[in-house]
């Protein structure tokens, strides 16, 4: 990730746009600079475009890294548009994402029609995204390691969640508690049950995926992430196999993971790494994980 403060202290003399002898802040900002900054943000809004493919994009990214004044200008433009800058680098380009309530934000009701009325469907669509991330970066190191490229398949994600659900079912059976929900309180049903009882797939009359099945829901999520420039299709194996992009890692690490974690903590659930039923002892310590630690530091 770029750190404007460090680049300004390391290369003060290389700032071509700084006025001679003066501090960078004193230099006048021209409308051309603002146009360039907006242009870079515009590139960032095309998530599938990479600096390696576009010379102008690459040049603007380079300028952002070398010119702290230009960098802060870009960040200001982005913030004004309701965008959060995750990283500006040659590998990810200008990785921006929508801030909450921004016009660029994706709403669940736009995403899936059923999700706005059916609470179970709403949950399943959200869970599909969480599960894709969890399988794309299965270990904490994978999420932390910049060079890591995850691979997922639609069937793999479905099977992964089903396996997790099955383990929870087994545990519930062992503890002897009654896992069936009360009829008049569907909201109290255990989340895993909702996934487990949804059909994995289903034959339809026109040989398409059954959209309400879990494979259909995961497939939709994957297709959406491909459009967001987060996944790239590799092959058609196992319902479609995909690899992750740098942008997706950033998005999960710096935005989604921490946001969901803080929500979880608000609910009073403090997830501690569980070593009881896993062979590999947990390598990370729950204490080190501060909620919000992964938030983007390109704050404005």
């Amino acid at each position: 990730m770029t750190d404007p403060s460090s680049s300004s202290t390391s290369f003060p003399g290389q700032d071509r746009h700084a006025s001679p002898g003066g501090s960078p802040a004193a230099a006048p900002i021209t409308s051309a600079d603002v146009s360039d900054a907006a242009r870079l943000v515009a590139f960032g809004l095309q998530p599938k475009l990479l600096p390696a493919r576009d010379a102008e994009y690459a040049e603007l990214v380079r300028r952002h890294r070398e010119d702290p004044r230009f960098a802060s200008l870009c960040d200001a433009v982005a913030a004004g548009l309701g965008l959060v800058v995750l990283e500006v680098s040659p590998r990810a380009g200008m990785a921006v994402t929508a801030a909450e309530d921004s016009v660029f934000a994706v709403r669940m009701s736009d995403y899936a029609r059923r999700a706005s009325t059916e609470s179970a469907d709403r949950f399943l669509h959200g869970l599909a995204h969480l599960a894709i991330a969890a399988l794309a970066f299965p270990r904490p190191e994978d999420l932390a390691e910049d060079s890591y490229v995850g691979r997922i398949s639609v069937h793999g994600v479905d099977a992964f969640v089903r396996q997790a659900c099955r383990r929870l079912e087994e545990r519930a059976e062992q503890s002897g508690e009654n896992i069936d929900p009360a009829v008049d309180a569907p909201g109290l049903e255990a989340a895993w049950r909702v996934y487990a009882r949804r059909s994995a797939t289903g034959a339809t009359k026109d040989a398409r995926r059954l959209s309400a099945s879990t494979v259909g829901i995961v497939g939709k999520a994957v297709a959406f992430l491909v459009d967001s420039g987060f996944l790239q299709r590799v092959s058609d194996e196992a319902g479609g196999t995909y690899r992750t992009t740098a942008r997706y890692q950033l998005q999960v690490r710096d935005m989604a993971g921490s946001a969901a974690m803080s929500e979880l903590l608000e609910l009073g659930v403090v997830p501690v790494s569980d070593g009881s039923a896993t062979l590999v002892p947990p390598t990370d310590d729950a204490g080190e994980l501060v909620p919000g630690a992964g938030l983007p530091f390109h704050g404005v």
Binding site: L127, V215, L267
Partner: protein, 588 residues
């Protein structure tokens, strides 16, 4: 006084609510039995709903078909795949047809499909069933609960196909062992089988063997799930204790079962061979098949068990000993996904909503220009190319025709060899006639005649051909300038379809047909030599060898009546064939 005091003592605990409610065993058992009962509901439902179908379907025993469908799916469940949709329908159809043979095949298909789809419960969102039952505890009082279950579930195959698998509930409903341990139920079934075999009750033994197989399938399924999960995430499976225990147990079990079933197999084979009654013999043979299938499944399970250890180590290497962590990250599975799954769905939705909002990135909003919109709306819809893009004309290079004989020559030879069934001919005559038209043709005719010396009777029967070219060597030496060897008798044999009465085409004496069996065949050479001078020489003899030749290969193909499936038509003895004089003339 004493009586009433006693009554009071006895009566006190019986007053409802006065004594602490004994929650636990009975209540659990009740819930379990209620669930077991619920699993059978879809089958009863099939019976109840058939009246609502458009059409007269009450003749079909739908519950029976439902159980058969579950049976079919369970038996075809293997390690990798389940049963194919269409295959199940295809295999169910004969059972449907058996129930109402006078109805059309389209209706049978519809019924089979309806049964299968009802068992999947295609109409519902979850494609499953839900039953409501109540539990009563001291703390909560009476609570109604939902019990969700599936009988047949649709799972994705490796290449995107959809397969059917029978769920544990379905297997339990099917075999009727509703609350039993896999291993112990199998042992019980096994003991029962041995017992039954000793007493010679094969029909029941077969039932027990089938039960054992269902159990085996269920056992393999447990292992398959564990292995698949390991491949995805080593940590999701307890490899410290649970899986090694499972593998040890399964290996012991396979070894034991293998010994046991081989013993059973030997017993049943003996029973099969010694059994006198055809019905017993047949059911013993079926039992042998089932036990062999069990053994095959055990071997398969064992192979998987042997692979399990190396698979785990490889996955462990891949997943656990990869690059060193650089900084602590978020454990998405352990810290997020699993805790979320444990939450009540109402709370879990809050977390997934946050993850969705923050994890989907951005979408650039679409701004509509009126100009574009009107243009878009006024553009006529693009004609969908129904057949796809035009197939480019392939650039074909004509391969040189290197066949020995031309098309016309083949036709000529076929015309020459198209002999009436009652008039076989000598090869020498055919060759001479062929040579008259085309000097090259005799070679082709000779080749075809040699082919006919060993006719593909089985193939012809399978294809449903009604006639076949046969050639018989009766010992006469061929006297020809170009071709040497035996002067074959070439004729057409008529094939009777299986089950058809013999001698359909028999215009001649009926007693000749049974007499044509092997003995007659051995007589042919002598006989034909003796009667060569009279004109009717080859024809009277030809049917015998033809029937013998054809009957021999037909027997292994399952034709019950040896020699009877192929029946050459005997010609009327003494009646001169139309082309016989020509043969004589040509030979002269």
């Amino acid at each position: 006084m004493t009586v009433s005091a006693q009554a009071a003592r006895v009566g006190t605990p019986a007053i409802p609510g006065a004594a602490p409610y004994r929650a636990g065993v009975t209540e659990d058992g009740l819930a379990r039995r209620l669930k077991a009962l619920a699993c059978t509901a879809p089958l009863h439902d099939l019976e109840a709903r058939k009246a609502n179908l458009a059409g007269e379907y009450s003749v079909y025993a739908m519950a029976e078909l439902g159980l058969t469908a579950i049976d079919l799916v369970t038996v075809t469940m293997d390690f990798d795949t389940g049963a194919d949709h269409e295959e199940v329908v295809a295999r169910l159809r004969p059972r449907v047809a058996a129930q109402a043979p006078d109805r059309g095949p389209a209706e049978h298909e519809r019924v089979a499909r309806w049964v299968l789809e009802s068992l999947i419960n295609v109409g519902s969102v979850d494609r499953g069933f839900r039953a409501v039952y109540g539990t009563w505890t001291q703390a909560d009082g009476y609570v109604r609960r939902d019990y969700d279950f599936k009988l047949l579930e649709e799972v994705p195959g490796p290449d995107g196909d959809i397969f059917l698998r029978a769920t544990d509930e379905a297997v339990n409903v099917l075999v009727g062992a509703l609350d039993t341990d896999v291993t112990s139920a199998q042992i019980a079934a096994e003991v029962k089988l041995e017992h039954l075999i000793r007493r010679g009750r094969l029909a029941e033994a077969r039932f027990a063997a089938e039960q054992a197989r269902y159990r085996t399938v269920q056992y393999a399924e447990t292992l398959r799930r564990a292995l698949e999960a390991t491949r995805r995430n080593v940590r999701a499976v307890d490899w410290l204790k649970a899986v090694p225990d499972l593998i040890d147990e399964a290996l012991d079990h396979v070894a034991e079962r293998y010994r046991h079933e081989n013993a059973i197999l030997t017993n049943i084979r003996r029973a099969r061979d010694e059994a006198e009654e055809p019905e017993h013999k047949r059911s013993a043979a079926e039992l042998v098949d089932i036990v062999q299938d069990c053994i095959r499944r055990h071997t398969q399970l064992q192979t998987r068990l042997m692979e399990a250890g190396p698979l785990f180590r490889a996955e462990q290497d891949r997943q656990a000993f990869a690059a060193r962590p650089q900084r602590p990250g978020l454990d998405l599975y352990g810290q997020l996904l699993r805790p979320v799954l444990e939450l009540p769905v109402g709370d879990a939705r809050a977390v997934t909503d946050r993850f969705f909002a923050a994890g989907t990135g951005l979408r650039t909003p679409v701004a509509v220009r009126l100009h574009d919109l009107t243009e878009l709306l006024l553009t006529p819809p693009v004609e969908r190319e129904h057949l796809g893009a035009e197939v480019p004309e392939p650039d074909l290079v004509a391969t040189p025709d290197d066949s020995r004989f031309s098309e016309a020559q083949h036709d000529a030879a076929a015309a020459l060899l198209d002999l009436p069934p009652d008039a076989p001919r000598r090869l020498s005559g055919l060759l001479a006639e062929a040579r008259a038209g085309d000097p090259d043709l005799p070679y082709l005719v000779a080749l075809l005649a040699f082919h006919a010396a060993s006719p593909p009777v089985g193939t012809a029967l399978r294809q449903g051909d009604r006639s076949l070219l046969v050639a018989i060597d009766d010992g006469v030496i061929l006297d020809d300038p170009e071709v040497g060897g035996a002067d074959l008798i070439v004729g057409t044999a008529l094939l009777a379809a299986e089950g058809e009465p013999q001698g359909v085409d028999a215009a001649g004496p009926t007693e000749s047909a049974p007499a044509m069996l092997p003995d007659a065949a051995f007589e042919v050479p002598l006989h034909s030599d003796a009667v060569r001078p009279p004109g009717a020489l080859p024809r009277a003899d030809a049917p015998g060898p033809a029937a013998e030749l054809a009957g021999e290969p037909a027997q292994p193909a399952g034709v019950p009546n040896p020699g009877g499936a192929v029946q050459d038509s005997p010609s009327e003895p003494g009646a001169p064939g139309p082309d016989d004089p020509i043969d004589r003339r040509n030979r002269a």
